[in-house]
Point group: C2
Chain length 174, copies 2
């Protein structure tokens, strides 16, 4: 519902109707609609983490290949769906007023950046430079995510993966 109707359309009634249950059932399983939204965020975040881990799992041993696999996994069809990106945007819009959502976001990003720093270390990047590079690559991936979601006509997933791979190379060499 968040993806299809935006944050405004994700009401208890609409969610219950979509799920084929009564509105009251939402209140039975979640302590209010806020808790449902937070749980949804956690669920989607875990799905993304799992997909990125799986990409790393199947990337072999070459450090550079592992880094590229982790970065480009964010643009795999299962992750780069406009549906999922719209969901994240809806979450971002909630961080201003919902501190628990903001905290979940911080944790999600800290996890991604931390992994990235480790992968950069495997690629021989000096310890003192890993953090800044991880921040930059995370921002690049997020920005490309955004443009894929908001302006799909402008660039293709393949373009995006190529750009990320290229910049990862520049970053490591630079």
């Amino acid at each position: 519902m968040l993806a299809r109707e935006g944050a405004a359309g994700a009401s208890v009634r609409a969610i219950a109707a979509e799920a084929g249950v009564s509105p009251g059932l939402v209140g039975h399983y979640f302590e209010g609609v806020d808790a449902l939204v937070a749980a949804t965020y956690a669920h989607v975040g875990a799905q993304v983490d799992a997909a990125l881990d799986a990409a790393l799992e199947g990337a072999g041993d070459d450090p550079r290949a592992r880094l590229e696999a982790y970065l480009t996994a964010s643009f795999a069809p299962s992750i780069a769906r406009g549906e999922l990106l719209a969901t994240w945007v809806a979450f971002w819009s909630l961080t201003a007023s919902r501190h628990d959502i903001a905290r979940q976001h911080d944790e999600q990003y800290a996890r991604f950046r931390s992994r990235l720093e480790a992968l950069l270390g495997e690629c021989g990047v000096a310890a003192g430079r890993r953090r800044a590079q991880a921040i930059a690559l995370t921002a690049l991936v997020d920005g490309l995510w955004l443009e894929l979601c908001l302006s799909p006509a402008v660039l293709s997933p393949a373009d995006v993966a190529r750009i990320v791979r290229e910049h990862a190379g520049l970053t490591i060499r630079g």
Copy 2:
């Protein structure tokens, strides 16, 4: 109101109360709350454009300096305010269901990217490579914007400007 309360809190009544006028006046000047939101987007977008143009104006003649000025202007105090970033996130969350907002976003980004391509051309980047590099730098700026807004504790505006400058250099040389 979008920045402080999120999209959910920007109701006609709240906006009117904030402005010190009656709720009915909003309907008098705007054809419904949707038109007000679209007008706000246009207003904020124009402010950002003006600030970026001003940065370009005062950057002198050196192509590289002009590029860096344009890119880092997005992180100037007047633009990188958490308030403004939260407003943009609220707009992004509306693009899923509001086609006019989505169109306004496309135009805003096309403008930014087009300027960037011209500046990259001034820096000697080959015509065939400008578009991809402009997309990458736009994504980098957006991603860093996002992190500044959502996790201000993680990185400072100065860090962000340095990262962008560094990547612009890598991009041009690479």
